[in-house]
Symmetry: C2
Subunit: 461 residues, 2 copies
């Protein structure tokens, strides 16, 4: 339960700790905890600690996706040690380390790893970041269909230490085509002399293509509670697996990205306190400026209604209140639909069902807010807190009508935005609360002044 | 790869399908896919299908957390069949089914399950929804420390079909205290005659208390790539385990809840298209009304500046533009901090570091937007698209100053909101984009008019 914590050095440098001494202390620590410590220090220090650690420990540390600066650390280590360690690191993790490498180092290190590792690496590096192939590993257990249970168990024992998982075993026919998937638990509970195919469930295994979207692989692992999902080529030959712990990492990263997207910015891929200041600005300024430019239309819309504003300045008082309600209801609707599309509770063709719900929902929610707004105006007027003038009842009516219109419009626009983005081939999760608010704001002004001109014509306007 | 799909009946009733016939068709389907189909139908139909299915299939279906109306289906089945099936369902899932049961049915069904199941169930039902105990299961493998590898393997073979997982094996001392955790893969690769303790890694196993927060259990499973995490009582005796597939389910549910929170509403716990209309309204109206009431302060703030507005109506044109920028920058900062706190990249005591970043970030981002805004005013004036009057340069300056002030203020407020919520004991994820925008809007008006009075005193004001 308890795992030792170390002095956190806030400046990123250890406070006079001898790396060799530290390596000895770390011998009994979990690799994940060693990574936590190394991440708080410069690559040079991390390399010194790993240099003083035995191979299995150093490999286990390199194997952690959470290790930062893996490529820098590898570059600092003596070339032969780096090669020996990297040859033992799992293929998917090795590909990650190469991806973060500078091009000059990339040319240098492959010479060090074995030719077999190199060709695997070259294949893995070909897949873009967002597809299943990019997180698969090539170390899985595949056996011919004519083996007995006993033979497979003997094989598992032999290759256990070089495989990412041995809990999922893939049965291939003579061509190397994936025939069945089998769990180790089922295998060890079976009669050792028995036929492999008699033990394996009679189902075509679930699998994905290497260029399938990452989220599809994660969805299958999550839905079918898989410990591993095979990745197959066009001939249905398994070329790798995606393990459940990789799926968990993707889910956590997606959660970050989704909230940051929804917050109206490019997701950071570095922790907030570690990202460079100008990188942080860059990730935020883009969307912020874009939204600002779009929001400039509100100034144009307001200019159109300048005459009305001059005649009835009282109308300007409710502009922020009314506009924000449209943005808020839109933001709610967007968040609902983004998630429903992501978990496949809803599909592209369900858009009209959403409209059929959002239309009455928007009208009702707008009426609720309208009642609150009208009450406020009546109370302020009644208690003489503020004088909205002789036509205050008409102003209240304008506010109610505008709220019903804007909240309904916000709900419809907010709920349709993810559908439109998906239809156009974008990720629906790029829809954000500020994005929706901006879309709704301009029309909010138009709706408000339209309501005003209908209600107040002949009196204030 | 391909798995058969069925006609979706949109009204929730099957289109003249015979349940027994369907059960035969489903025999070769994965339980997850059977659940998808049953979920589209009424409990009575689902019960008829399960009644016609063999026990192992029906149990596998009940074991799926995605099955809706599990308790209703169980209540419709003949009592003896229901009892036989429920006795074989895993303990954590059985507890879920009981949680969703009406009180009258709750009293009825426990009589059917075995006394052993009943006492497990009573223990599990004691834990509230958001703690580790609520998703643990009691079917795990625990063995005495003095067994040999061979003995443990024989035990695993024997109990395999009644355990949620056999891949994590827990080694207990004579008192029943958790001593070591061991993976099955390590066990089968070891010398059968060997000593268990020589094979198990020399580490105190990670574990949680049953009342630990759910998210802590998920964090440990995710960080340490565990297939299962033991839950221990005060004496360190294991009382259950949480498996990685439960952690995955929690992560997916959290993702929904977090996005919906951030969208400014109470998370739905039913899919959007299935939730009742008035339930949907209830989940949205609460926050929407609360935000509306808070946003009413903008009307009060505007009332304060009515004189200024009357003298310089041109100022009103930029109100939506400037206010939305504060909300947008605040929304970005909030989304960053919510996630950093959730994944523990940041802790409560790091708030001042965040301020030290957000202050310069806000000033710089505000200056970027200010430059865009001033350019717009100059271009519109220069091209005579709109006449901002003889003091247009001062108006542009007002806009720049206000944007720097509001974006900085928005960034600070947005980034501090999750800290404040956490400090007050709330979930930082209840901070939402509309919440931040509302907080920032009132102060935005004050900042804007303050900038205006500084710049325009003696000219327009």
């Amino acid at each position: 339960m308890s795992h030792a914590t170390f002095n956190r050095s806030t400046d990123g440098l250890p406070t006079a700790v001898d790396p060799a001494h530290l390596a000895a202390t770390l011998a009994e620590q979990r690799p994940e905890d060693v990574v936590d410590l190394l991440n708080q220090n410069k690559p040079g220090f991390a390399a010194a600690v790993l240099l003083a650690s035995p191979d299995p420990k150093a490999v286990a540390v390199f194997d952690q996706p959470e290790l930062r600066n893996g490529s820098a650390i590898a570059s600092i280590l003596p070339a032969d040690r780096a090669a020996r360690l990297l040859n033992q690191v799992s293929a998917d993790r090795l590909a990650d380390i190469f991806r973060e490498m500078r091009v000059s180092d990339r040319n240098h290190l492959p010479a060090l790893v074995s030719s077999e590792t190199r060709s695997t690496l070259e294949r893995l590096l070909r897949y873009p970041d967002d597809c299943a192939g990019s997180i698969m590993t090539t170390e899985f257990v595949a056996v011919p269909a004519d083996w007995t249970v006993e033979q497979v168990l003997a094989h598992v024992r032999e290759v256990e230490h070089t495989r990412e998982t041995v809990y999922a075993i893939y049965v291939l026919d003579a061509d190397g085509t994936l025939l069945r998937a089998l769990s180790l638990r089922r295998l060890i509970a079976a009669d050792p002399k028995g036929d492999l195919l008699a033990v394996a469930p009679n189902l075509t295994p679930l699998a994905v293509a290497p260029d399938a979207p990452l989220e599809e692989a994660v969805r299958l692992i999550s839905k079918y509670n898989l410990l591993a999902l095979p990745v197959v080529d066009a001939k249905q030959h398994p070329i790798g697996i995606i393990t459940v712990d990789d799926a968990v990492d993707v889910l956590v990263a997606q959660q970050d990205a989704q909230v940051q997207h929804f917050g109206g910015m490019e997701p950071l891929d570095t922790p907030y306190l570690r990202i460079g200041f100008f990188e942080l600005i860059r990730k935020r300024a883009g969307w912020l400026s874009l939204l600002f430019l779009a929001e400039m239309l509100t100034a144009s819309a307001m200019q159109t209604y300048q005459d009305e504003l001059e005649r009835a300045i009282v109308l300007s008082l409710f502009i922020p209140l009314i506009m924000s309600s449209g943005g808020n209801s839109g933001s709610q609707a967007t968040s609902l639909v983004i998630r429903a599309l992501a978990v496949r509770d809803m599909h592209l063709q369900d858009w009209w069902r959403v409209i059929l719900r959002e239309l009455p929902a928007g009208i009702l929610l707008g009426a609720v807010l309208g009642a609150l707004g009208a009450t406020r105006i009546a109370v302020w007027q009644g208690l003489a807190v503020f004088d909205y003038g002789p036509h205050w009842k008409l102003i209240a009516l304008t506010v109610v009508l505008a709220l019903v219109g804007i909240v309904t419009f916000g709900s419809i626009v907010g709920s349709m935005l993810p559908f439109v983005l998906k239809r156009l081939g974008f990720d629906p999760a790029t829809a954000s609360a500020p994005f929706v608010a901006t879309l709704v704001d301009v029309s909010g002004i138009v709706i408000y002044f339209t309501a005003a001109s209908l209600v107040l014509r002949g009196t204030l306007l």
